[in-house]
Symmetry: C2
Amino acid sequence: MTALDLTTDVVDLTRALVDLPSESGAEARIADAVEHALRGLGHLKVDRVGNTVVARTALGRDRRVLIAGHLDTVPAAGNLPSRLAEGRVHGLGACDMKGGVAVALRLAATVPEPAVDLTFVLYECEEVEGERNGLNQLTPEVLAADLAILMEPSDAGIEAGCQGYLSADVVVRGRRAHTARAWQGVNAAHRAARVLQRLDDHTAERVVIDGLEYREGLSAVAVRAGVAGNVVPDECVVSVNYRFAPSRSTADAEEYVRGLFPEYEVRVTEVVAGAPPRLDRVAELVEALGAVPRPKLGWTDVARFAALDVPALNYGPGDPSLAHTAGEYVPVGQLRACERSLRAWLLR
Amino acid sequence: MTALDLTTDVVDLTRALVDLPSESGAEARIADAVEHALRGLGHLKVDRVGNTVVARTALGRDRRVLIAGHLDTVPAAGNLPSRLAEGRVHGLGACDMKGGVAVALRLAATVPEPAVDLTFVLYECEEVEGERNGLNQLTPEVLAADLAILMEPSDAGIEAGCQGYLSADVVVRGRRAHTARAWQGVNAAHRAARVLQRLDDHTAERVVIDGLEYREGLSAVAVRAGVAGNVVPDECVVSVNYRFAPSRSTADAEEYVRGLFPEYEVRVTEVVAGAPPRLDRVAELVEALGAVPRPKLGWTDVARFAALDVPALNYGPGDPSLAHTAGEYVPVGQLRACERSLRAWLLR
């Protein structure tokens, strides 16, 4: 088993984590290494659920903070092993989110007596279907906390809350015909022009919550029509993805999309609530970190905590727009800044 | 080898041909049977090229008529073996075009001294890519004739000439973005609304040649866009199929389509000329058959003969709209009518 040295520098630790490949579904090796390293610390109670490792202090503090990071990455893209160059750690998952995991592990190892009780959750399968997500395998009791910090890349700033999302198929129907007698049919692809034009004309709302703007978006992400090269298609399916402000419930979001396409069949294939920023409940941390909160555009596991009424925010090293790119990296400065700021806050 | 009895009734012969499965590319068995039956006749010189059988008289007549039918069918659809019910032969290829082939073989067997020299061409691979078509494997000398009759289903009427067709991809471009920040991209699917609306608004021309209306048609046959469920697509491809009157050249047709979409990349993937009806050159046959010519809507191998300057028409039993359907059939009355009319003309 690869041994992780949690007393080493956060940069070396990030590189060691990157060099432990852990594509979603294949996290056993990295989970073994993380579990072994945490069990060696003494001040933490360590549990393992699948390839998710949970480590908790039990100091009897009146508040508990949960710090979470996922161990898995998307598939490699020629970006292994790790590489340190020009103040950046490059490599698979460096940004999303081995850098954040390294910070969490450094805090676990080096802050044995924090001002609050801590729960560290290093989990599997975040990059795949929600049902497989390691957080989904844990009970609400394990996830219970007064505050959760998700170490997702947020450029070492605070990204609060997150958008919800809805996926739906808008189905446009017609009638098949041979293209040599096209007038005998009704071309569903031609009729889909109205759906696509409506999307093009649509102005997404800009919803402000706690001073943060959760700009919405409604996009066609796929269009599918086609029977054969000589057939007028009788169906055209426009798949839309709606990113909605956390002030909307999933029911609101669904009603909104259905309302835009009242004359078509709308099949909602997935809808997931967002998370409101709840800045009132994270004010102390925000102030301590000295960062100006930004709205999280995109969906993250903070929504899972919101559903459990645990206020949560994203705070981690790395530019989120680099996630899942072959060239992803994490700046050394951000690794150190996150570790330093959180340690200071935990030791306050 | 299955023996075909060409002295039998055209209905029994149609059924025997249907019961010899001959999906495109697997015509060896039926071609063997046809070749063997024709070689047994004595008054015909028989050649074989691949799975195409050519049989010719050499009576020194001053005119030569070519009678052609393809041996292959589309794949079976639970419609074998053949079945005779309510005056119809049902089964794979009954309509397209074993019925027409049966008529041709009956004429080959029973008209040893026609008023014109005859060339019978029973060919392979009509239902697949044009390069594989059996007619394509024959030299212009073999196909030379003063008139060609294609026994394609035309409801025992005359369908003259045929439309040309053009396939092209109209490419709409945009710029990718994450759907959580959709405004950073340009949605190619949304922009494709204009292409589809233009197709919907388009009025196809109606071109009259020799009194026959070759109604054109321009159809989207496929729309493809989609990168991932959370990505604003940067490309949307609308595949169009243009059926054009035989008065247009392929260059005209291409210019016409490009002219409709001047602001987009248009990739022409295939363009095939049609065939003008040339009723002046088929007048005698039309009169003899006593049928009112109709325009052929769709493309058939008559265009190959037109390219060789051989006037050609479609004349065969079966409703063309039943071609390629699981329920295809050919009416017994049409089988007999076609055989009777052509025999009378050949013996005139």
